[in-house]
């Protein structure tokens, strides 16, 4: 196992190299010029060119790439073209809100989805199953922003129970922190809940057909023990895979939720940087996202060995 983990970690290097190469050149070939955006509306062509020269954007792309890679080799992700702040600082500022939103969303999704999926599988093709899956389909089909606005309208504007927007760091108090996360994690969690519930149901249905479940039932074990201890554990591999993919997606792709609830997370940082053509931030973020995905995939693979003793590396 240790050798496998080390081998996988070494495999990160070529993956990151390909990602770095791809992102860098894709950004340079995309239309848009940060110098023109910085210079502003009333800037002349000459003024824009002067800014471009000072930012080093007039240099050959290969030279710019070499400078960036040299920085990366020294652990430097670069500096934002606009704010002059280190990309590492900008990412660090956004990490806590994103992680908090990701974990709280997963908590909401898993807490609802697994019981829903298990019950649906247990009562397969009955009314409970149809209601549960209907709810799941509805949750999956409803755009996040629609649910978000509905939640904001009722819980924040009308009943004034929760804040409309913003993120309160945990250091500023636990209750404000929780309050700021309830609506966004419910809005986002419903989509993931639907996905996980459907996977749980499908996986459970397959397991519930197995002989050992029939045996467990035949020897008179209580239904909850059969479902939770015997069936759910053996149905866990695909569920864990979906949850893991969900973590990776949530960390990099919750732009709409972050925008609607005004949460300063990594998703918004990415979109803002793309729109402003702030190359160093986009490059740094995509590298970080790639690394996160690689690590999460590795963790998922390792978890298989714990969940299913037949899997060995």
């Amino acid at each position: 196992m240790t050798a496998y983990i080390i081998r996988r970690l070494f495999a990160v290097v070529p993956v990151m190299a390909v990602v770095a190469l791809f992102v860098f050149f894709l950004l340079r070939f995309a239309p848009g010029d940060p110098a023109a955006i910085i210079a502003g509306d009333d800037a002349t062509t000459e003024a824009i060119e002067a800014v471009r020269v000072k930012l080093g954007l007039d240099r050959p792309v290969v030279e710019q790439f070499a400078v960036w890679v040299w920085g990366l080799a020294h652990g430097d992700l670069g500096v934002s073209i606009f704010s002059n702040l280190a990309v590492t600082r900008l990412i660090a500022q956004r990490l806590e809100p994103t992680l908090a939103l990701t974990l709280s969303t997963l908590f909401v999704a898993v807490a609802l989805a697994i019981p829903l999926g298990v019950v649906a599988a247990w009562k397969a093709r009955k009314l409970v199953d149809r209601l549960a899956m209907g709810f799941a389909v509805l949750g999956f089909a409803m755009p996040v922003f629609v649910l978000a606005y509905v939640l904001i309208y009722f819980f924040a504007v009308r009943w004034q129970l929760l804040p409309v927007q913003g993120y309160s760091p945990i250091a500023e108090g636990f209750w404000p922190f929780v309050q700021s996360l309830i609506l966004p994690s419910v809005a986002l969690g419903v989509t993931y809940m639907a996905l996980i519930a459907r996977i749980t149901r499908a996986s459970m249905l397959e397991v519930l057909q197995q002989d050992y479940i029939r045996t467990a039932n035949a020897k008179g074990l209580a239904t909850d023990r059969v479902l939770l201890l015997h069936a759910l554990k053996n149905a866990a591999v695909p569920i864990v895979t979906v949850i893991g993919i969900g973590i990776a997606l949530l960390i990099s792709g919750v732009v709409i939720t972050e925008t609607v609830f005004n949460i300063p997370g990594l998703g918004r940082l990415t979109v803002d940087a793309v729109l402003k053509r702030d190359y160093p931030i986009v490059q740094g973020l995509i590298l970080v996202f790639a690394a996160v995905k690689v690590v999460i995939n590795l963790m998922i693979d390792i978890s298989y060995a714990f969940l299913d003793p037949r899997i060995r590396y």
Binding site: G32, D33, A39, V164, L275
Partner: protein, 522 residues
């Protein structure tokens, strides 16, 4: 037990203290990403700059310059020598005194970067420190816009920085934002793309005059200002109604009816003149618009009401304005207004044909992500299609438009024929500050109109001896610029700002640059 209580008290005391802190939470039109108001012409950088930095002069609600950092000043009878003396007690946020060395270095940097500053410095032969508090400015000609330029509030204000910051190359951003203005920038709390924080400058000595637009006493009314960036206007509206923010600089006009009904919320017009002017820019370098007749044909496609109804909707917040200089401003006039009297797609096409247009595609850069430019571009495209013009619509985000419009190449090689943009009402009210009215060929703004007579009239405006002469020149300039079609105006509008009237007061209306320093909170 006593120990536990003591710990609890220690924990609660800072909370109590922070609870008394008066915090103004304001949602602006953009996020603060650049902290150097001279390096960029972005308005948001100037709102930041106006909080942190002070200026020698400030233009009041009538666009008249009033002294700000300057205590007294003298102008020689021949209008060639200016002597400025700074007020007593001016200090930067690091505690160092503001001296004429800082002022001269700052003006040189601003004058090297900003269009208005460059024009002013074109007349300045020397700036010399008399002592730490007084300096002279000598001109080669009696340029009449010295004080207005120093006090402008639209883009790139003439911010006074520390000498060491002002020595930064004008093409590079300053690394620190340390000014002598009413608020101190809390860089450690800055989250670009989310929030910028400003703390009250307790050492600031405001002027005694009442505030008027960008002039008068800048009395800090709150302990802390948080400029919050909310990309979703729906969220900003809900947050204002819910009382989570106090001030919203640019509510979408669609939301105004809701905000008018919301408890505790009030709307306020931003200033005496409208805040935005719509402009259609033609590329004078490329056919068919290298021919004046083809440019003039486009006037027949402009029905300002169509544009304004689409962008704003509510007639209370827009104004048809057939001129290039802001209607309602001091130099509004009817020069060239005859061009805007008739909407006739047929006549437009006929004139275009007479100018040699044979149905070649006309490339329009169509921004897809701008709340006013996007709909205005669609109205223009529709009018062009109605006329039977072959329109090549290039849809892209605004970031791509600002890049592509800088290209002088033919449209097939990545250039363009038409783009739509806007200009601030304050700048557009004055022929010298209004850079888009210029026709300085290659040195001008995108579209590159080239008419020495227009530039001559702009200079003449700067040299005018009195207000009457200025008005005469402004009329002639506008007539000439409209004949040349430096741009096609499609009206002006002024979406009001929204605020919690039950929580804050003391907003000073100012067109073009939100003035926040005088706001107090209950």
């Amino acid at each position: 037990m006593v120990r536990v209580l003591a710990v609890l008290a220690a924990l609660l005391l800072p909370l109590a203290a922070s609870a008394q802190e008066k915090v103004l939470r304001a949602v602006m039109h953009a996020d603060v990403r650049v902290i150097d108001p001279v390096w960029t012409t972005q308005t948001i950088a100037n709102i930041h700059g106006a909080l942190v930095y002070d200026t020698l002069f400030g233009n009041d609600a009538d666009q008249k310059p009033q002294p700000q950092m300057v205590g007294k000043y003298e102008i020689s009878p021949d209008r060639l020598n200016y002597t400025f003396t700074l007020r007593d007690g001016l200090k930067f946020h690091d505690g160092s005194p503001v001296t004429t060395r800082d002022v001269i270095a700052s003006l040189k940097r601003w004058g090297a970067k900003d269009g208005v500053g460059q024009r002013l410095m074109g007349y300045v032969t020397e700036m010399k420190a008399v002592d730490d508090k007084s300096f002279t400015m000598t001109l080669k000609e009696p340029y009449g816009m010295v004080l207005e330029s120093l006090g402008k509030s639209g883009s790139s204000i003439a911010a006074i920085m520390r000498e060491k910051d002002a020595m930064t190359d004008p093409q590079q951003q300053v690394k620190e934002s340390v000014g002598s203005g009413p608020f101190i920038f809390a860089k450690d709390q800055w989250v670009p793309g989310s929030k910028a924080v400003y703390l009250k400058n307790k050492d600031y000595l405001p002027r005694s005059e009442p505030p008027s637009s960008f002039a008068g006493g800048k009395v800090p009314g709150v302990d802390r200002i948080e400029l919050i960036w909310m990309p979703d206007p729906q969220t900003a509206m809900s947050a204002l109604i819910n009382g989570e923010i106090d001030f919203w600089e640019n509510p979408n006009t669609d939301f105004l009816p809701l905000l008018e009904k919301a408890k505790g919320v009030k709307l306020l017009k931003t200033g005496k003149i409208d805040s935005t002017q719509g402009m259609i820019r033609l590329n004078h370098l490329q056919p068919p618009f290298d021919n004046p007749k083809a440019r003039q044909a486009m006037y027949y496609l402009i029905n300002q009401e169509d544009f304004l109804r689409t962008i704003v909707g509510d007639p209370r917040y827009y104004k048809v304005c057939p001129g290039l200089l802001t209607c309602g401003g001091p130099y509004e006039n009817d020069g060239g207004a005859q061009w805007m009297k008739e909407y006739s797609p047929k006549k437009a096409l006929q004139l275009l044909k007479e100018a040699g247009y044979k149905g070649e595609p006309i490339t329009v850069l169509a921004a897809t992500d701008h709340n006013t430019i996007t709909p205005a571009t669609q109205v223009l495209i529709q009018a062009m299609r109605e006329a039977g013009i072959n329109v090549d619509v290039q849809s892209m985000d605004w970031g791509s438009v600002v890049t592509r419009r800088a290209k002088k190449d033919p449209p097939v090689q990545g250039g363009w024929n038409i783009f739509v943009t806007t200009s601030g009402g304050v700048g557009s009210s004055n022929p010298v500050l209004h850079t888009w009215i210029g026709a300085a060929c290659d040195k001008g703004l995108f579209g590159w109109p080239c008419d020495p007579e227009v530039e001559k009239l702009r200079n003449a405006f700067g040299m005018a001896k009195d207000e009457a002469e200025r008005k005469t020149v402004a009329n002639a300039l506008q007539a000439r610029a409209m004949d040349d079609v430096v741009f096609l105006p499609f009206g002006q509008w002024d979406a009001p700002l929204a605020y919690r009237a039950d929580r804050i007061s003391g907003i000073v209306p100012n067109t073009g640059l939100a003035v926040l320093w005088g706001i107090t909170k209950k």
